[in-house]
Symmetry: D2
Amino acid sequence: MTEPTRSAARVEVRYAETDAMGIVHHSNYPVWFELARTALCRETGSHYADIERSGYRLTVTGMNLRFRRPARYGDTVEVAAWIERLGSRGIRFAYEVRNGAELLATGSTEHVWIEHRGRPCRIPESLAPEFRRLAGRRR
Amino acid sequence: MTEPTRSAARVEVRYAETDAMGIVHHSNYPVWFELARTALCRETGSHYADIERSGYRLTVTGMNLRFRRPARYGDTVEVAAWIERLGSRGIRFAYEVRNGAELLATGSTEHVWIEHRGRPCRIPESLAPEFRRLAGRRR
Amino acid sequence: MTEPTRSAARVEVRYAETDAMGIVHHSNYPVWFELARTALCRETGSHYADIERSGYRLTVTGMNLRFRRPARYGDTVEVAAWIERLGSRGIRFAYEVRNGAELLATGSTEHVWIEHRGRPCRIPESLAPEFRRLAGRRR
Amino acid sequence: MTEPTRSAARVEVRYAETDAMGIVHHSNYPVWFELARTALCRETGSHYADIERSGYRLTVTGMNLRFRRPARYGDTVEVAAWIERLGSRGIRFAYEVRNGAELLATGSTEHVWIEHRGRPCRIPESLAPEFRRLAGRRR
């Protein structure tokens, strides 16, 4: 077992993401996490949009965030994502948001695989090897 | 021809809608317009969600907004919508956002009817009489 | 010690809150929580906007969500909030989102008090009795 | 008089930006415009965040959008912005959103300069030459 693959998305803070405190509103971090998760999924060779088109979805069942320092308009942050736990039916992704060397926030999201009729299912056979590789497991 | 029906949606400003200037970010007004448009469509007797389920959609093709005074967290605004122009293939809705007696913003959105394959179409026969009534026309 | 006071905010799902899966995107739940938290704070007799104007803020330090069932455009959900833990320097609020009898999501947010220079502080003296009352404690 | 300077921001569509129609909700375009406007302002040598810190703001007074074709999750669009009209007290910016060669949307926003007390004012002296240059005027 090796280290899980880490993706990194660079996100320029949008004015619309700030709030009356002058900082990025906390509801934007799940959206940033999703950008980093999209970048990570792309490393499987399939864009998540293609996975959806093939009839499978990773629905969000849980989410956890810790906020340490605020981000502000004018900042460009880096959002890292990696697989923290890979099960046969679900995945936990972990995240870090940094502004340069400074850690702004951490978090995780939990997901289960859903097939086209909306029922939970096992990870599609065609994707399993690539997700295992991302998770840092030998195939 | 009589006056068009006006709907009114009361919207409590959300903290997430404010920006670093301490006011509601302008990108939220189209979302508020949509709430008032939903309330207006409900007056046809069919929720817009049901119209969509029947295979028809009113896609947005244009949008126009004027901002006069800002809204702030703590405010509850009233958003009015009415049909400004009703064609056989499209609709223009007009809007006003007020905070008490004070006019904050005005605007309009233009829409065309789309059928289930995504092609422009005429207003569904079953909805036409009700939309004409809302527009203030005799049937 | 009695039960904490529960506020309830009714939230009509906005079309803009849905995503390509046809359900409300998970990043909107923290925004809904905030509406219920605002309603709860109002029970102290001071709108949170007034608390901010007096120089104090409750910044978000953490957030936790579980999603059970999706909400959809056309739904009006009820979001309840209550104080789960009241400390001298922070608060944990808990939340439930229901669609009629059906529980859609649960969550909690953690906050610390910040004074006007941005430093953590104790709960303002003037607010402490009311927050204790909301938390279900005898004063 | 020469051509105005055009900035270009590349924007990866976020899942949260899509709606139940499977396309990007129209309320996101003003947010994308703002990213391109930020990129354009940066060409003056001052980030808009610095302009704000110096006590001046460009508030939005009007907005106009035409939607031709939808954007979808998986797309990366290019948003161009340029100065369409430069007055002593206000600016009109114009925008184009493209997906490759395909034009998705066009629009414009109107702004007036506001000083630190919130009153309309003339463009700050220090910024005027740079904005004239961006607008394609000889200084």
